[in-house]
């Protein structure tokens, strides 16, 4: 069973429905026991880094999520769920994340470009991974974010250009995470969700 971690942030229903659309069962849950029992863990999220981290802690969800990841369960982080994996974010002052990936979260600098980076943008594949590979080069996904991740270890799977080139997805062992929203990216996104559900 795929568990979509509910910690009170954002539209989780689309993630669940996305899995169902490709024939997979997923539950939305904030119950640490159900997350511990799940075969796959999905950490979605929109909103502020600090609030999300706080909510995860308040609901006792940091431990089951981290334990699940360390036990080798396939993990998918979406948008803020990618950013939370990192050590720290500079969003509204510095805040600590889960620290599962080395690096930080930075804000798009002030420029002529609009922030948030919002809309459909394409990915450039840096290397093959289980969820994205060379054949996905140039695929468009839906993005909405003001911050981006800066890994300090070699985990980048794809990059995207918005004034600068930033990491749009990462993979490390059983962890996969993307800045874009597969559940909002029509067929391209559903394909990625399916691949995740099929990961053992």
């Amino acid at each position: 069973m795929i568990a979509v971690v509910d910690y009170g942030m954002g539209n989780l229903r689309s993630v669940q429905k996305g899995f169902q659309k490709v024939g997979m069962d997923a539950i939305i849950t904030g119950d640490p026991k159900l997350i511990a029992d799940a075969s796959h863990i999905v950490l979605p999220g929109v909103g502020a880094f600090k609030d999300c981290m706080q909510n995860l802690e308040d609901r006792g969800l940091v431990e089951p999520v981290v334990k699940g990841v360390k036990a080798g369960k396939p993990f998918l982080g979406i948008c803020l769920g990618l950013q939370l994996l990192f050590e720290e974010s500079e969003e509204f002052g510095s805040h600590n994340g889960l620290g599962l990936i080395k690096g930080k979260v930075a804000r798009f600098p002030k420029s002529d470009l609009k922030v948030p980076h919002m809309g459909w943008n394409d990915v450039h594949i840096s290397r093959n991974s289980r969820l994205l590979n060379r054949s996905d080069e140039g695929t468009f996904f839906y993005f909405v974010h003001s911050y981006y991740v800066v890994p300090s270890e070699d985990v980048t799977v794809s990059t995207t250009d918005y004034g600068q080139t930033f990491t749009s997805s990462i993979e490390k062992d059983n962890i996969f995470a993307c800045q874009f929203h597969p559940e909002k990216s029509q067929d391209a996104g559903l394909k990625l969700l399916k691949r995740f559900g099929e990961t053992k």
Partner: protein
């Protein structure tokens, strides 16, 4: 490269599409979910539902429409119309909406925008601004509410900047002068607001041809274009419009 977005907008009343669309091949062209699926097939980048249900008792119907849409359509969905409380927003997001569009409630109480964006994040708070040109030499626009009936005395550019400051993630900018004319956007209004803001601006009101959308992006500097009748009456499909834009060098996502 970030592409320009094309957003079809459906007016929904009591759970039904008003200003009936002409998708005769659909089982039920009055069902917003069926129409949403058609736009999904055509390559829309996002969808917007404007709920114009008048009676408060029937407001729950839109939640069911949103739920059924989110079951089948996997692209960003914005819902506007009569949103005035944090609970209204929460219900819509839980039903599967990604963004809400706030109009009159923001005028009545600007703090509501600050509160909503602090709770749910700027990315899901769109502030809809209905602007009407003020007669005179200077290019100025006044904000209106209630579908252009009530003047507020507020200057559009000042208001848009204030809403950005209060945490709006996007501005949906409708020209009340151009809306329904099919003569194109108010390009001066659009570029004035888009140039001044650091958040995306969606141009709305007046689209009759693909060229109008091209102008909205190129001259109006809009980040996205919202249109209704041009798509509802099958004058053009979304992919046809994107083909037109792409040939002229506008970055769009084609499917």
């Amino acid at each position: 490269m970030l592409t320009k977005r094309i957003i079809p907008c459906l007016d929904v009343k009591d759970g039904r599409v008003v200003k009936g669309t002409q998708f005769l091949d659909l089982k039920d062209a009055g069902d917003p979910v069926e129409v949403a699926k058609e736009y999904d097939r055509q390559g829309a980048d996002e969808l917007t539902f404007l709920d114009i249900t008048a009676s408060h008792e029937k407001r729950g119907i839109i939640l069911d429409v949103v739920r059924r849409t989110a079951d089948d359509v996997f692209m960003p969905l914005t819902v506007g119309g009569g949103i005035s409380t944090v609970d209204d927003i929460r219900e819509l997001l839980n039903a599967g909406a990604d963004k809400v569009s706030i109009n009159t409630a923001a005028i009545r109480n600007p703090e509501f925008v600050r509160e909503a964006s602090a709770i749910f994040g700027s990315q899901c708070i769109v502030v809809a601004v209905d602007a009407k040109r003020v007669a005179g030499k200077e290019a100025k626009w006044e904000v209106y509410t209630h579908g252009g009936r009530n003047a507020t005395g507020i200057d559009t550019l000042e208001w848009a900047l204030k809403m950005e400051d209060y945490g709006a993630g996007e501005i949906l900018l409708t020209s009340m002068d151009c809306d329904g004319t099919k003569n194109g956007f108010d390009l001066e209004l659009t570029s004035t607001v888009s140039d001044a803001l650091n958040i995306p601006v969606i141009a709305s009101g007046g689209v009759g041809t693909p060229e109008h959308i091209y102008d909205g992006f190129e001259k109006g500097k809009a980040d996205a274009a919202l249109a209704a009748s041009i798509f509802h009456y099958k004058e053009y499909t979304i992919n046809e419009v994107k083909g037109y834009l792409s040939e002229r060098g506008v970055p769009v996502r084609k499917i």
